[in-house]
Amino acid sequence: MTATLPETRNAEAAAAVEELSSYKWGFATEIEQDFAPKGLSEDTVRFISAKKGEPEWMLEWRLKAYRLWLKMDAPDWAKLKIPPIDYQDAYYYAAPKAKPTLASLDELDPEIRRTYEKLGIPIEEQKVLAGVEGARKVAVDAVFDSVSVATTFREELKRAGVIFLSISEAIREYPDLVRRHLGSVVPVRDNYFACLNAAVFSDGTFVLVPKGVRCPMELSTYFRINAENTGQFERTLIVAEEGAYVSYLEGCTAPQRDENQLHAAVVELVAEADAEIKYSTVQNWYPGDKDGKGGIYNFVTKRALCRGARSKVSWTQVETGSAITWKYPSCVLMGEDSVGEFYSVAVTNNHQQADTGTKMIHMGKGSRSTIVAKGISAGRSDSTYRGLVRVGPSAEGARNFTQCDSLLIGDRCGAHTIPYIEVKNPSAQIEHEATTSKISEDQKFYAMSRGLSGEEAVALIVNGFCREVLQQLPMEFAVEAQKLLGISLEGSVG
């Protein structure tokens, strides 16, 4: 087959394409060029696959996804205003190294610097986040760009039999395991963004906790987007075998960026009988400035398959960042008496938009699910909770409890709750509770009269509102999340 070269927009990219055509399908182990040409084509897909030294089946899988994606349309049902995305105007595998724009941290916008300091980010990490010259040499236990995975504690995990690798390594070292599970929860054709991810995912994480093993530590990976114009397509696959337990933390803070950045991750979780997976996220990607300029587009597909009896998956998320969030961590409750949980705090401020929620698909007898969603809107932002509870004909005695609370700050923001409930088994019990409230002047003044500043008062009230969700997070994460909530809402109360 002859490759059709994509239309390129700069000399660097043209050179890369040239180089690509010289080794194509050769699975060369060393490729000089460490970025794919700008734009998306079959060549891009082949480049990524070759760069990672992937087996043929993986390339085929990606190509199939790419061809499907070409025929699909972006979803338009969410209550979001998404500017048109030019998929040809982005890099899909790293990017030419952006020149540092700052000579030192002193040149950084003081407001951003203050945010870093409030979050307690060490100076060296601040430099990396801010793109200060020379900062890239600093070794930080974090994932930058698309090349990944914290290797800390790998030995201890190995002793326990836990596999914790970057997905690229896992594809090479455990091809059969990956092949068995990849796409088993989120099929390639699931949706537009998941399909795109399947074609071009750059890296991500693979976890397998074997039968009967309780993972000896919380697994955490920091994802940070740090290269201008790099679409991030992370792929995470976590498998908990029979009776296994794992808690996985995903935390993100973002550097200030001017360009819109697309992030379309896919996370798949598989829980076998009596297994439990706890997946916690604190997401703080750059939301754009006060006028809504810039910011990350976070279009993520997260889904868990509770395959075995009594399996349990718990999603906890604190979403404070991104310009646009489109995200519905879901559970397919296939196993008898399986349990799905979703605890969510979504904060939107200024011009942020979030359409987020969950899907609980009950198929197993006696399966149970709990949804606690807290939405906080401030500024001119818009926040929507969208949730589906579906009880299939086989899910005898299924139960769901849903609670959706919205808190409004100011009078120019919006909060919407859109629950879908489909019940095909008459023995199911579904409960739905929803409230909408505002932070009252009385509450704020009461707290201030006891010594809290206006912002401290609002942060305290908001943390109280989110308490049920925050207490699901591991301790150190909860502390970070509380700080984040305060910072995200700064300046939102008069």
């Binding site: 009385d442 003044f445 009269s449 006891r450 010594g451 401290e456 305290l460």
Partner: protein, 246 residues
């Protein structure tokens, strides 16, 4: 300690305080009595710095500092405490967390070190026991599910914990049964000292049976129209507010 001179204040378009003058020295307990709509609660809110209350004329100083130039939390850190007529509920924030956050916020503003966990809990145990508040209640959300009396006892508890210099108590006696009135009054009496002052705002004389004031003022139509000793409160109780000099 507190010097208010010719204070005028409006809420929206309406002028509520019309030239109020009042001086409270350390060690004193003053009571302000008056009919509904006289401006009692407005005075409390103006002194505590609530938004929406605009001072159009006059001044208020606390230990020589211009009170009107300070934010509500700065007034709190300076040592001013407002006991609310209607204490507010804050769901999800336990009373203990609320108090500790407030204490440390005040300490930070004053440049003092934070209170240690042990020291805080020791103080909590001592103060709560005398007010009949049990630990389960203190672990609940701020005032959430509290009866009217419990809310007022919680205000007295906060007063004891925060140890301000000046307690401004707005209708602390309203909604209290006899027993709760006694408990809250004892809390106020424990607070009294030569270095501190109290301003009781009340509609009824009965609180003054338990907390004996040094000075009683009558507030009517936005100004102090009469001042005297405790006997003034008894006279008002007998004669009512009608017939006061306007």
């Amino acid at each position: 300690m507190l010097e208010i001179t010719n204070l005028h204040a409006t809420v929206g378009e309406r002028e509520i305080l019309k030239g109020l003058t009042l001086s409270v020295k350390a060690g004193e307990v003053h009571a302000i009595m008056g009919p509904n709509g006289a401006g009692k609660s407005t005075l409390a809110h103006v002194l505590a710095g609530r938004e929406g209350y605009e001072v159009t004329k006059g001044s208020a100083h606390f230990e020589g500092r211009d009170l009107l130039d300070m934010e509500p939390h700065e007034r709190a850190a300076a040592g001013l405490f407002l006991g609310f007529q209607y204490p507010v509920e804050i769901p999800g924030v336990s009373n203990l967390l609320f108090l500790r956050t407030a204490m440390n916020a005040q300490r930070k503003l004053r440049g003092e070190a934070e209170i240690s966990g042990a020291e805080f809990m020791k103080k909590v145990k001592a103060e709560s026991a005398t007010l009949g508040l049990d630990m389960d209640m203190l672990k609940r959300g701020v005032n959430v599910g509290f009866s009217g009396g419990e809310k007022k006892r919680n205000e007295a508890f906060q007063l004891g914990m925060l140890e301000p210099k000046f307690a401004l108590l707005d209708e602390t006696d309203s909604g209290l049964d006899i027993d709760a009135l006694r408990i809250v009054s004892e809390g106020i009496n424990r607070f009294r000292s030569a270095e501190r002052a109290v301003l009781l705002i009340t509609h009824y004389q009965r609180l003054l049976d338990h907390v004996r004031p040094d000075v009683v003022h009558v507030l009517a139509k936005g100004r102090i129209v009469e001042s005297g000793g405790p006997e003034l409160a008894l006279r008002l109780e007998a004669q009512g507010y009608e017939g006061l000099a306007a």
